[in-house]
């Protein structure tokens, strides 16, 4: 998976304007070539070790596991990466590819700002021009990340169209790309978009699962029983799941954002409560109305606030290989506080969705069983959101 046209079953594909079909073919060709290229892979390894700080630890959350009284819970510490989240695994890979392809300018879309920061960071590291598209609504919510990107030398372009959030930022980045194809590389931040992005971003993120698999074998001498990760677009989940895909005894749980509750309609859970459709270059589950218009989403976590999801997740859902579940805003906040107080780790609100689901799942399992939760990012960026939600002025 995928097939040569980028299909995961009926999902995925290349649903873009004709102008992009040629450049996508060129990208696919370059990516397939460098994936086999020893020099490229050595450079990528070096950057991941020395710049990102890999491997990230697989930490046994002993106190938290005991409190929950069930499975032993391990945390894959992507929060300890440079820039504080898993996003940089992918931006390093794509930016190195951009350089090999002779591109001098990179563009990116961002919601919460984590992917934007990770893109601006590698652009600074490699001396590339960087333009980040961000919904005007999100720019207000994430002022600190906007300033970080500017410090790193990126231009942050506010997107005023549509719902002024992540999906509109993606539209605008596509419009930039179609206009500036000759010198520009578009770094998509998640396992969505037209082929080859879903497979390419997955491949760059599988470092998470490859490390976790080796680490758990070393620390426990066996494979885990369950893997948990939050799913917005789904890159941290695919990165963790994929190296275990043939291990049929390892259950996968992708945790979507239920926002104010699935029944309110104010959520961001296309896999659990959406329908298949076509958006942003791929066929996948979407939040859409009866006429095929994309509808607004809500989550306390800006990084999960997206109406689509990577096509491979759609495929894993339909085949039953992965389970998709939801956690609402309040449950996520509880997960945020639990980990902070019990383990001394402040998690991102995105990752807090996966943590909150662990608090439900672990007690149903025995103390001999093992869960790995992807702690995809750190929560420093979210303390204003948490404070505001609790009526505290900082």
């Amino acid at each position: 998976m995928p097939d040569d046209k980028g299909h995961f079953g009926i999902y995925g594909g290349m649903f873009v304007a004709e102008t992009l079909m040629g450049p996508l073919a060129a990208l696919r060709e370059a990516y397939e070539k460098y994936l086999q290229d020893a020099d490229f892979l050595a450079e990528l390894d070096y950057e991941l070790q020395q710049y990102v700080g890999r491997p990230s630890p697989l930490y046994f959350a002993e106190r938290w596991s005991q409190r929950l009284g069930g499975a032993r819970i391990y945390l894959k510490r992507e929060d300890l990466n440079h820039t504080g989240a898993h996003k940089i695994n992918n931006t390093v890979g794509q930016a190195l590819l951009a350089k090999r392809m002779g591109k001098t300018r990179i563009i990116a879309e961002t919601g919460a700002g984590q992917h934007g920061v990770a893109s601006a960071t590698v652009a600074a590291r490699l001396g590339l021009e960087c333009v980040v598209y961000m919904g005007a609504e999100d720019i207000q919510r994430q002022a600190m990340n906007v300033f970080r990107m500017k410090l790193l030398g990126a231009t942050v372009v506010p997107v005023e169209s549509g719902s002024r959030t992540l999906k509109d930022a993606l539209n605008e980045a596509m419009r930039d790309w179609v206009t500036n194809i000759d010198d520009t590389f578009y770094i998509i931040g998640t396992v969505a978009g037209p082929h080859p992005y879903p497979a390419m971003v997955r491949d760059f993120q599988t470092i998470i699962g490859r490390e976790a698999r080796a680490q758990i074998l070393e620390q426990e001498g066996r494979l885990p029983d369950a893997l948990l990760a939050c799913v917005g677009g789904g890159s941290n989940a695919m990165g963790l799941f994929y190296p275990f895909i043939e291990d049929n005894d390892v259950a996968f749980y992708g945790v979507e954002a239920a926002g104010n509750g699935l029944e309110t309609g104010r959520h961001a859970a296309p896999l659990c409560a959406g329908q298949p459709g076509v958006l942003h270059g791929n066929r996948t589950y979407l939040m859409e109305d009866a006429h095929g218009q994309i509808i607004p989403t809500h989550s306390i976590s800006a990084g999960l606030d997206y109406p689509g999801v990577g096509p491979e997740h759609a495929w894993l859902k339909d085949t039953g290989r992965a389970n998709y579940v939801t956690i609402d805003d309040n449950e996520a906040l509880q997960g945020f506080h639990d980990l902070t107080r019990i383990e001394g780790i402040i998690p991102a609100l995105e990752s807090s969705h996966a943590l909150a689901y662990a608090t439900k799942l672990a007690p149903t399992m025995t103390t001999e069983q093992i869960i790995i939760v992807n702690l995809s990012g750190r929560g420093d960026k979210d303390i204003h959101t948490v404070a505001e939600h609790e009526g505290i002025t900082l």
């Binding site: 594909g13 873009v16 304007a17 004709e18 549509g162 206009t179 298949p276 076509v278 095929g292 218009q293």
Partner: protein
């Protein structure tokens, strides 16, 4: 013979090129669209491209994005657009109508159901910006079973092998996108267009339309010299935006620009 084929044949006989205005259905409100379609025909339009509003129009520049947002504020759906075409057909049996939009509304309705309803409404052809021939087999079977043409785009980045595949899959006409960019962009390069149109013509006997970047009589005339159809969108939609609030003023502003283009094209 289909309405599109008859239209191109008739123009060819008199040595003229097709003038193809684009407007977004339901912009700025649903009540104006049918009357605007008739006004455009009276001003010299040969084929009408009617935009189906979509929440995420990735290939559109700001002018058409805003048009779609105005239409969506009124809840204009694919069903409503088909209804407008049906109404238009009551008093215009000849002017071909091409629906232009994005795949998802058609995907959600279902290809077979869409093809049946579109044919019944009097639609002649469909252009879906984000549907390349690689993904289109099922849609093409549904459309062609209902005598609807599928119009595909060719871009400046399309190589010879793809031109061949696209011209083999498409029907009605081929739409050449004159520039790398979104609708309403400003950098029309006529000699580049001439070169690419010649490459397309070497592969197909289908008529070739050119769009993106055509905004006035002069650019319309220069494209008419090399192509079979001249598509104009953002320049007209801007007239609609400037006259929001009065259907009459919209009709006369749009018709005024089209008439200038018509005159310039026919004189070249």
């Amino acid at each position: 013979m289909s309405r599109l084929a008859a239209c191109f044949e008739e123009l060819r006989m008199v040595g003229n090129k097709a003038l193809v205005p684009y407007v977004t259905a339901g912009d700025p409100e649903p009540g104006v669209t049918v009357s605007l379609m008739h006004a455009m025909v009276a001003a010299g339009a040969d084929i009408i491209e009617l935009g189906v509003p979509f929440s995420d129009p990735m290939a559109e520049g700001p002018v058409i994005q805003r048009a779609m947002e105005r239409a969506l504020k009124h809840g204009v759906s694919l069903d409503d657009v088909l209804e407008m075409v049906h109404t238009f057909r009551q008093t215009d049996a000849d002017t071909p109508v091409v629906l232009m939009g994005y795949l998802n509304p058609v995907e959600v309705k279902g290809y077979a159901e869409f093809a049946r309803e579109a044919q019944a409404a009097g639609v002649d052809a469909v252009l879906l910006v984000d549907m390349p021939p690689e993904e289109a087999d099922d849609l093409l079977s549904a459309l062609y079973a209902h005598d609807l043409d599928m119009i595909f785009l060719v871009a400046p980045t399309t190589d010879a092998a793809r031109i061949k595949a696209i011209t083999a899959a498409g029907r009605g006409f081929i739409y050449y996108v004159s520039l790398k960019g979104v609708t309403g962009a400003g950098h029309l390069d006529v000699s580049g267009v001439t070169e690419q149109v010649a490459k397309i013509r070497a592969q197909t006997s289908l008529p070739i339309g050119v769009g993106f970047g055509i905004k006035d009589a002069e650019s319309a005339a220069s494209i008419a010299r090399v192509a079979d159809a001249v598509v104009v969108g953002s320049a007209l939609v801007r007239k609609i935006e400037e006259n929001t609030g009065s259907g009459d003023r919209i009709n006369s502003a749009v018709a005024g620009l089209l008439a200038e283009m018509r005159t310039a094209m026919d004189g070249c």
